[in-house]
Symmetry: C2
Subunit: 129 residues, 2 copies
DNA sequence: AGTTGACCTAGAGTTAACTCTAACAGTTAT
DNA sequence: ATAACTGTTAGAGTTAACTCTAGGTCAACT
């Protein structure tokens, strides 16, 4: 059983965020001691790690809530979760190609900038369209 | 001179957004006719295109405000704008590598999902750490 | 006994970038 | 002339995901 400060350290998350997750029911009501202090158990820690990892992987908290629900009933999860992941992959690919384009354009402009005498080519580049 | 509805079509932007940009002084006060109707001139259209393009390129409205200011005084812009673009490039590279990792992990999990019999490997994959 | 320090709460504030609402005015079409 | 359309405003609401504030309790040290 871990007090909130221990979870803060272990999971690299703020106490506010932990309480917030509980408030929005992303986490279940956490067990309390007689003084009302939250005591997180291993399952809670596992859920928090799950949340952080899923978040890093691009899932929103709303999506993570579904994933956590599915985690309790894996038999029924397969199709829906795969759909969720597939949708994410499509979005990520779109995002990736946009970022690559942006990177190329910016790199070009920054390089041009090193050579230019008059004005700033970054500004000019943005003016073209 | 273009009425707001024309700008909406030409620039693929909402009237609300145009008025919002003027309110936050990203755009200058737009010329009005006797009835108080906004009439955008070519310079305004150019600024709006500039904004949209810069936005697509990953600049925030706050950054774009600076770029627009610099656009009026290109002589002094070079260093600062290049710095802005350089910072953006660094952030984009970071973002790109994170997205690539995420894509690889998700692809792997989705592929595993096709083969699994018990539970959902996406869920299990998230549980590992 | 007193003072930190960690913890608690409800609720407000933050951020970016819109988006919507209500209520009104002027323009165009029939 | 009347209905429909397009425009106007100030200001409130939205979204996600926190983050902070004020005011309080409780346990541990000095």
């Amino acid at each position: 059983m871990f007090k909130i400060s221990e979870v803060v350290k272990q999971c690299a998350i703020s106490a506010d965020t932990l309480r917030y997750y509980e408030k929005i029911q992303l986490l279940p009501p956490i067990h309390r001691n007689d003084s009302g202090i939250r005591l997180y158990n291993k399952q809670d820690i596992s859920s928090i790690s799950f949340i952080k990892r899923a978040q890093y992987m691009g899932f929103s908290l709303a999506e993570i809530a579904k994933l956590l629900a599915f985690r309790k009933d894996p038999q029924h999860a397969k199709t829906e979760v795969r759909q969720l992941a597939n949708d994410k992959l499509i979005a990520i690919n779109e995002h990736l190609s946009q970022l690559k384009t942006l990177k190329n354009e910016l790199t070009l402009l920054v390089n041009l900038c090193n050579a230019a005498d008059d004005g700033c080519p970054i500004i000019k580049g943005l003016e073209i369209p």
